[in-house]
């Protein structure tokens, strides 16, 4: 039987280990404390019917039937440019149905951006006052939402999509959604 006093001496060490555990968790690579879980997961996406960049509009109802990606972007958003090559690859090589919503932007600026960096979107809807973004719970651009064939939000990616996120999370999810 170890005396009680000896055990008490171990308490600071245990407390330190718990604390260090939290530090390790918070410092793990790829963790961003500003990244928030979406409150909209598994809920129906808020309906929208937007004017389009090329004259054709973008409405939620027209997207139902297949799993799709909706990417909120803007010409004034620098991380969106960083994301553009990943989106181009998604559209050209993976043939993922990718739709854009131009968030709080001028259509001419968005057109310039797409002309310069490439246009990965099947269609782009204009959300000049950010109302659709507000309904989706967007709190910064870029954000990418995965919708299943019934129009329910299944996942949200905050910030620029990385190749790693695409390979490890996005593509497997899309494959699963296509089968379901």
């Amino acid at each position: 039987m170890i005396p009680m006093r000896r055990v008490l001496y171990l308490v600071p060490l245990l407390l330190f280990m718990v604390l260090a555990g939290y530090f390790v968790l918070a410092l793990r690579p790829g963790y961003d404390p500003h990244e928030l879980p979406s409150a909209m997961i598994d809920k129906e996406a808020p309906a929208f019917d937007l004017a389009g960049l090329d004259g054709k509009g973008l409405a939620l109802d027209a997207l139902k039937g297949n799993p799709v990606l909706i990417n909120f972007f803007a010409s004034w958003c620098v991380p969106c440019r960083e994301e553009q090559p990943v989106l181009m690859r998604l559209a050209d090589q993976e043939h993922v149905p990718l739709y854009g919503i131009d968030y709080k932007d001028q259509p001419e600026d968005a057109q310039k951006l797409l002309a310069q960096f490439g246009d990965p979107y099947r269609r782009v809807g204009l959300d000049p006052d950010g109302q659709v973004g507000l309904n989706f719970g967007v709190y910064g651009v870029p954000e990418t939402y995965v919708l299943d064939r019934t129009g329910h939000i299944r996942k949200r990616f905050v910030g620029p999509l990385t190749a790693e996120e695409v390979n490890k999370e996005l593509l497997p999810l899309l494959t699963a959604l296509k089968k379901s």
């Binding site: 409150a39 709080k104 000049p128 006052d129 950010g130 109302q131």
Partner: protein
């Protein structure tokens, strides 16, 4: 009060740029994606306020030193207080305000409990981020529509999650958050009580009384010392 007004104007720099209450019109500077912070309050004014009343106005010979120090301390505190008022001034833009003062007061009191998700430690009423503006307008639209305070708050929580509430609700998932501080305090008190109880008292702690042999030896030693 003039100082506070100056601070407000500073905070709502973007006020003139957004003509419509709904988002950004032509020529509006778009918000950067993340991390917008309001500029600090009128720091320079606060500082000049402190020095103006202490050193310049009263020659140190006329006042005892301690009193001067007290004055400096009090004026500094007061200046800091004014500064804090300026920093916490609302960022609500004139165009966003509701015509009905009662409804606007309700909107402001709800808005102060809602987090701006861009700055994360400011309420939407304090933040001048674009998103805070959008949520302020949405909140006011909901109230105009006739929503109760709880309904309006719930509509915003539905979009952004409970993280949007600056004060987390008391529910099983947050019990640790709410009750851990009081619990830790109780554990601490219990620990102190236990320690006090089991600590050997001063009477017990003294040296044991001498045995007869020791007594006689002490006597011998003392007698030897006398000689």
């Amino acid at each position: 009060m003039r100082k506070v007004t100056a601070g407000r104007l500073g905070v709502q720099r973007s006020g003139n740029a957004a003509p419509s209450p709904l988002g950004c019109g032509a020529g509006c500077v778009q918000p950067p994606a993340r991390g917008v912070r309001p500029p600090p309050g009128p720091f320079a004014e606060g500082v000049s306020f402190t020095t103006g009343t202490t050193a310049a106005s009263y020659p140190s010979a006329a006042f005892p030193r301690a009193l001067t120090h007290l004055r400096v301390a009090v004026t500094t505190l007061f200046a800091l207080f004014l500064l804090s008022l300026a920093v916490h001034a609302f960022a609500v833009e004139p165009g966003e305000r509701l015509a009905d003062p009662k409804l606007e007061a309700r909107a402001e009191s709800i808005g102060q409990t809602l987090r701006c998700l861009v700055c994360q430690n400011e309420s939407i009423e304090e933040s001048n981020a674009g998103l805070a503006h959008d949520i302020r307008v949405l909140l006011r639209q909901l109230l105009l529509k006739g929503d109760s305070d709880a309904q309006a708050r719930a509509a915003i929580v539905a979009r952004y999650g409970e993280f949007v509430l600056l004060k987390p609700p008391v529910q099983p998932a947050t019990y640790v958050l709410w009750f851990a501080p009081a619990g830790m305090l109780l554990i601490g008190f219990a620990g102190i009580l236990l320690w006090l109880r089991h600590r050997p008292s001063a009477a017990d702690a003294g040296p044991a009384p001498l045995t007869p042999q020791e007594e006689s030896r002490l006597d011998t030693l003392l007698r030897e010392a006398d000689h």
